[in-house]
Symmetry: C2
Subunit: 277 residues, 2 copies
């Protein structure tokens, strides 16, 4: 296997003028019925590969939400692995994010890192900050792999803990600072801030400098593209992984689902680029 470096792959994609990340939240219950003549894993794989073929020239990354695959048991895990293999073989320039929001003590994180990077075949993983950087070393130490730390999440109730004041600043600001100042020694960190909170996104951008920000919450969750781009771009007019899942992959639930997905992907890409120029 050639060495793939998550941040380099991402920068090369940004240079192709796209900040769109398609979220393959492939909920089996919602995928088009005509794909379900075979096994669950076949249906998931058919769905994902059709979406990938339809959007690969227009994305900066794919993000797989592992929860939907776990909900299909071992078959889901097969599909998740096969999807990564497919992208690596056919679209080797596109980085793959495993949205798994993991974090445990160090010895357990060794196993999670092995699973995400070596067994599942992904280039980056989303991580909870709660156990601290010492616990996350098995991820942070892998220079070629992306470590994407939850900072300010997109959900309504995100503020319950994330807005608590620590030394006069919200906790998510403290998380952003720790990532920037002490966790990013290998230059492989990114943070998550929801598009539903543009003010917080702008604050985090100021703190983390040019570090990539994964931005969920566009589309179904209601985040505004213009506000997101203006708040989230870095000094190079890049640095954003703007994710849309449901708004793209379930734009149609019929036979034209991949055409609809392409249309929504291009629309989002162009809208983002309009506010970047």
């Amino acid at each position: 296997m050639n060495t793939r470096n998550f941040i380099s792959l991402l920068q090369d994609r940004w240079a192709q003028s796209t900040a769109v990340c398609v979220g393959l939240d492939s909920d089996y219950g919602k995928i088009p019925e005509h794909l379900k003549s075979g096994s669950v894993q076949e249906a998931l794989f058919l769905f994902n590969t059709a979406l990938i073929d339809a959007t690969a020239d227009a994305v900066c990354a794919y993000k797989i939400q592992i929860a939907y695959y776990e909900a299909c048991g071992a078959e889901g895990i097969f599909a998740l692995i096969k999807t990564a293999q497919y992208v690596r073989e056919k679209y080797s320039a596109i980085p793959l994010i495993l949205d798994a929001k993991r974090a445990d003590i160090g010895s357990t994180n060794d196993a999670y890192a092995k699973a995400a990077f070596d067994v599942f075949g992904y280039d980056a993983i989303t991580l909870h900050p709660y156990l601290g950087g010492e616990a996350l070393k098995p991820f942070l130490d892998q220079k070629d792999k992306g470590c994407i730390i939850l900072c300010r999440t997109s959900n309504n109730g995100a503020g319950e803990f994330q807005d608590l004041l620590v030394d006069g600043k919200p906790l998510y600001i403290k998380v952003a600072r720790q990532v920037k100042e002490t966790w990013n020694v290998n230059g492989n960190c990114a943070v998550v801030v929801g598009a539903t909170y543009p003010k917080e996104l702008e604050e985090v951008r100021t703190i983390v400098g040019d570090i990539p920000i994964l931005i969920p919450g566009i589309g179904a969750q209601g985040g505004d593209v213009q506000k997101t781009v203006q708040a989230g771009k870095n000094s190079k007019g890049q640095g954003m992984i703007i994710n849309s899942s449901r708004g793209i992959i379930f734009a149609s639930k019929k036979k034209d689902f991949s055409d609809a997905a392409r249309r929504e992907t291009l629309k989002l890409r162009d809208e983002i680029n309009q506010y970047l120029s």
Copy 2:
């Protein structure tokens, strides 16, 4: 399937005078070689069922650390599901904890909850608090399922965020308060506090009242049994799920591994009971 209620099962086990939880952190690389003549999933299943048969009369719960199973790909997930089926069929009185440390936005947590409870077949799951109680509703709303929230973890670097002062009290205290006061409306919550921090354990016990506390960190991680029991017991002299993983399941890596596991389980059970009496 009969209705199983996590907290009721746990209380019945405590009434049998055991607070020991055996952690099936079944790292394939460490399990005895003589079990590895078949597939990976067969080896994991043989290992787990031998440990379960050897310890079932002496435990209050089994805790499966999913990271070690994910590191074996789909085969690991098969083993994890089959292990739960085995316990439910043969030892139906014993509750099963999925140590997965999940938490995402609500729609994603729907899928995680389906995976953990319906597909994998576990009675309880460990959860990160960072996204707040609103996001965790798909777990919290299931009255029969245990929601075990990370409060003060056992790792060396746990304090990086967990000790940050919020209104003059550490963040983990705030988490414990939220669980007790607002998340536990269905009486199905528990919290995690590491045995490596007995002072913090005592503080959390004061705050959460009789809510169960899952206590990892005994054994390989260095937690002291006497201090743990004195700090962690509730008003009924119960309420603790004291987990040991490596110290029990890898007590021997030879053919006598299950005998050694039983010996260590009984030793820990008796030591705990000595300090409870």
